[in-house]
Amino acid sequence: MIEDERMNGSEAVIQATGLVKRYKDLEAVRGIDLEVKRGEIFGFLGPNGAGKSTTISILCTLLVPSAGTAKVAGIDVVQDPARVRQRIGLVFQDPSLDDQLTGRENLEFHAWIYSVPASERGKRIDEMLALLQLTERARSQVRTYSGGMKRRLEIARGMLHQPQILFLDEPTLGLDPQTRQSIWTYLNELRAAKGITIFMTTHYMDEAEYCDRIAIIDKGKIVALGTPDELKAMVGGDVVTITSSRTDEAAAEIEKRLGVTPIRDNGSLRMEVPDAKVFVPRLVRELEAPVDTVTLRRPSLDDVFLKLTGRAIRDEEAGTKDQMRAMASRWMGRRR
């Protein structure tokens, strides 16, 4: 397939080995290895506080790793951060525009600070504004922009100095579904037009599906890495979810009579089975506990995450320790 050809045929633009980031009494990143090929859209998926932002910050030279090495565009991020930065574009999790300046002025600022040659400045700014459909509003102050427009402007800005890799940290966070969808359309167009490598983090499972390859990260470690299809194949076959008025009883019966261990998720029972067509009739026949509803579907990345970590990715009510971790990484991320 296209993906295979791309991966075999080109070199790695990001290489990380054994990355660790320790803060006083917490280890945000605990040994991460990964390789991203030229032209890929690589997704970094995990719940809040899993270490996504910390890892991306190390790769972008914003944080120095406590251990391990990383090369971005062939350059060591610790030894030569300035040269790495000249070759990467960044879109941060938190907004970083000057909203008293116009869209165009924000881009001009960036072009200057990244030493875009004077003869190229205007041309590239026009091109990026057009590509992200901001031309009409380019002369309005950014504070009058919508959330989606601000994000697009940040993406345009990140591309101005023609980076080889565009890093996006939760680029669609806080945007409505339609806007999220359109950001993805723009990112795909950008890749088609500029052939850029995109490295992004997200905690939206549906977005990860747009990626060529995904690393699932949990508690500072990569727990799975592959194409969305490969990852979904880790969940055997189909996903069957039932609800019952006597959940405990039903769970015990399923385990005993059908030889499948159901996972509890929000009051329902979820199980992975090789073939739902055969399984569901058996389930209904053999269960004495009442079954109220049955749903079956193809596995999603949510299921993959649930299988690998035993909890759903959108469990925002995660343990206090996880929350602390999330707070710490968010806070420390903001400091630099």
């Binding site: 032209g39 951060p81 941060f92 938190d94 907004p95 909203d99 200057w112 052939g195």
Partner: protein
């Protein structure tokens, strides 16, 4: 397919990057950081107007009030001498410079809070450019803010000629630079807006009160004399006053009665300017060091 189309372009882009001269890049960065500050300053007309309101209030209310209270028997109001308003006027110019410079430099804290600082800090430039650009940006703003007040001279009975004005420009610039650099150094270590109030109450106000803007720094209690001589703003405001009042047709001995002294010696204006400049340079050095630290 996409991958193939791409590779040549990215390969071509790489060698050009190597040619980027880092010193030139720093200069460009300093320029654009400075320019952004000026742009925002112009755009925010209300701030310009509002920042003139305070000096005016001081001059009109505070100045007039004290002028009549200080009538006879003091340094002011004697026949042929200066009135309190005339004395205070250059001090108010200094005040405008002091507040604008430090507030301007502290806008770094806002930039940090609202995320923009990140865009600057991740750029492939030497971070010293950030501190220098910001210091020069507030220097320019503060200088303009102070010099605008010169239009009030006729209203307070101070005569100025072109030469005096030309002489005042570098003096205002030096004071603005010293205080802006101080502001940048403070802001570089400040992570939140909370610290701002502290700086305001415990640094800016004392600096203003002790600077000689409102009263002559002579015949003060010993402890206060020491504090006023530590205050860098004193060395910036004193030259402003001596130059502003120099063209009043009165003897220089009369002007020197207010002058800043150390051990009874009146300091020369260039020496004072040099002290402020040196202070600014040290502060800027500290700011640069603070910015170059990396987590």
């Amino acid at each position: 397919m996409t991958a193939k189309a791409v590779a040549p372009e990215t390969v071509l882009a790489t060698p050009a990057l190597e040619a980027v001269d880092t010193r030139l890049a720093s200069l460009r960065a300093i320029y654009i950081i400075w320019y952004r500050d000026i742009l925002r300053y112009w755009r925010d007309r209300w701030r310009l107007v509002a920042s003139l309101a305070q000096p005016l209030l001081f001059l009109i209310v505070f100045g007039s009030g004290l002028s009549s209270a200080l009538g006879r028997g003091s340094l002011f109001g004697s026949a042929g001498g200066f009135t309190y308003i005339q004395f205070m006027y250059p001090g108010i110019i200094g005040m405008a410079i002091l507040f604008t410079a430090i507030f301007g430099a502290m806008s770094i804290v806002w930039d940090r809070e609202f995320g923009f600082l990140k865009e600057v800090l991740v750029a492939p430039i030497d971070r010293s450019a950030v501190a220098i650009g910001k210091a020069l940006g507030s220097t320019t703003q503060a200088m303009i803010q102070g010099l605008i007040l010169l239009v009030l001279a006729p209203f307070v009975g101070v005569k100025l000629n072109l030469l005096t004005v030309i002489e005042l420009i570098p003096l205002a610039a030096v004071l603005a630079f010293g205080l802006s650099s101080f502001g940048v150094a403070l802001a570089s270590s400040m992570k939140s807006l909370q610290g701002f109030q502290v700086v305001m109450n415990f640094l800016m106000m004392p600096m203003f009160f002790l600077s000689g803007a409102l009263f002559p720094l002579t015949n003060l209690p010993g402890w206060m004399t020491v504090l006023t001589r530590i205050d860098p703003a004193s060395y910036g405001i004193d030259p402003l006053r001596r130059v502003v009042l120099s063209d009043s047709g009165r003897s220089s001995a009369l002007v020197d009665r207010f002058a800043l002294t150390i051990n009874g010696q009146v300091l020369a204006v260039p020496l004072e300017a040099g002290i402020v400049l040196a202070f600014g340079a040290v502060m800027l050095g500290i700011a640069v060091m603070m910015f170059q630290r990396r987590d």
